[in-house]
Amino acid sequence: MAKLVPLADGIAELVRDGDTVALEGFTHLIPFAAGHEIIRQGRRDLTLVRMTPDVVYDQLIGAGCARRLVFSWGGNPGVGSLHRFRDAVQNSWPGPLELEEHSHAGMANRYVAGASGLPFAVLRGYTGTDLPRHTTNIRSIDCPFTGETLTAVPALNPDVTVVHAQRADRAGNVQMWGITGVQKEAVLAARRSLVTVEEIVDELTPVAGQVVLPGWAVTAVAHVPGGAHPSYAHGYSVRDNAFYVAWDEISRDRDTFQEWIARHVRDAEVQA
């Protein structure tokens, strides 16, 4: 059964310096509060894994938590570039950022292999692109029946995956709905997992489109209402699109970014 823990304790216990960490959530249900707690606790040398390094990874990268990024699309959705990500890649600020770059199909399948206890996944992907030239983690494989050549990618098995969900019950069973992305796979692929939730309830009433993660497959659950802001939790909040737009300005300049992190993350009043 998943333990119910305060967010700070969950991060302290489950996310360690040097870990491979996946914060997933596809536009919806992005675990921003957990990302901020990682910054507050000053984690270092993380390998950050995520299909779409959104503003949450821009913040972690700019705050100096990351050594390496494994990803498939690094932008501010609907707005433009991630300036901290770009500054790290182009100017090694605040430090160098090693990249391992994939396509969405490749990343999704890497999580699927990880969740399935397989060492690799097979897909029709990457062929003819320049992506395989920059990592040994994209290889070819021949079908043992037809002889056709396909692409193989290795399983992703993060040390810890963090996701946000709408609800959990007291046994740590987690329920999410709306766009649920690759979260089930990311949690099941990980050695440890932390789920932040909008609400803890006595009983999970069924919802159409729900994904349920049984408590015995989750390490810890933290009650963090609003923990996806500026992303959203379907049925609880709406996406703060204005913040995503504002982030473009905040993040463009190193000083402005650092002031924002100091005020809104490092020195922020945090619930116990």
Binding site: F26, S103, N109, R124, T127, N241
Partner: protein
Amino acid sequence: MSEQYTADEMMTVAAARQLRAGTACFVGIGLPSTAANLARATHAPGLVLIYESGCLGAKPDRLPLSIGDGVLADTADAVISVPEVFNYWLQPGRIDVGFLGAAQLDRYGNINTTVIGGEYTDPKVRLPGAGGAPEIAASCGEVVVIVRQSRRTFTERVDFVTSVGYGGGPGDRARLGLRGGGPRTVITDLGVLEADPDSCELTLTRLHPGVTVERVREATGWPLAVADELSTGEPPTAEELAVLRALEATMRTAA
């Protein structure tokens, strides 16, 4: 018919006109989503919109602000996981049309959205990267590229092949085992380019009203092929413009 409109509006309308009812279309946020929703709201109400966030058959009544906008999940025929989008729907070739943008594009429709200038490990400009594009380009029945035309974008050689068009020319898609049809059409703010069936080279086949071939050539970083029978597209109709502007207004309200 005689209303004023911008080049971007013309581009979006031209892209929308490419889409036919009854087809399934893989759309990203921005111009593709606007064009697809314009098509659905005008001549192609049966167009099936697929967003990589997992929304199959989304029918938003306003323009979504991200591919994970709640309105997509609320109005979709089915919401599925992201692995399922790529494995069960895109990869087997179930999707007729894929819409892509480009930071750089060459004459064979190869697309770069990864890095510009310098080395890959030390680029001049770091772009967002691949996302769903490589497999959309590989597997959709055909690809429509929407991109503003300029010498910076329409380059002799892309700095990084993020998504394959026709590779180095005829036969390359088959050699690579890519099963979709590739970038048949490129819609820009100046006109429409189509891949020549023999040479695979992007060829200017249609100008937007008021645009000259000379202007398109100047905005192209390679010696541009021009069709013998070059047509001029219809300007946006009053209805197209009205619907487009109403859609874009929903985006401003929501943001």
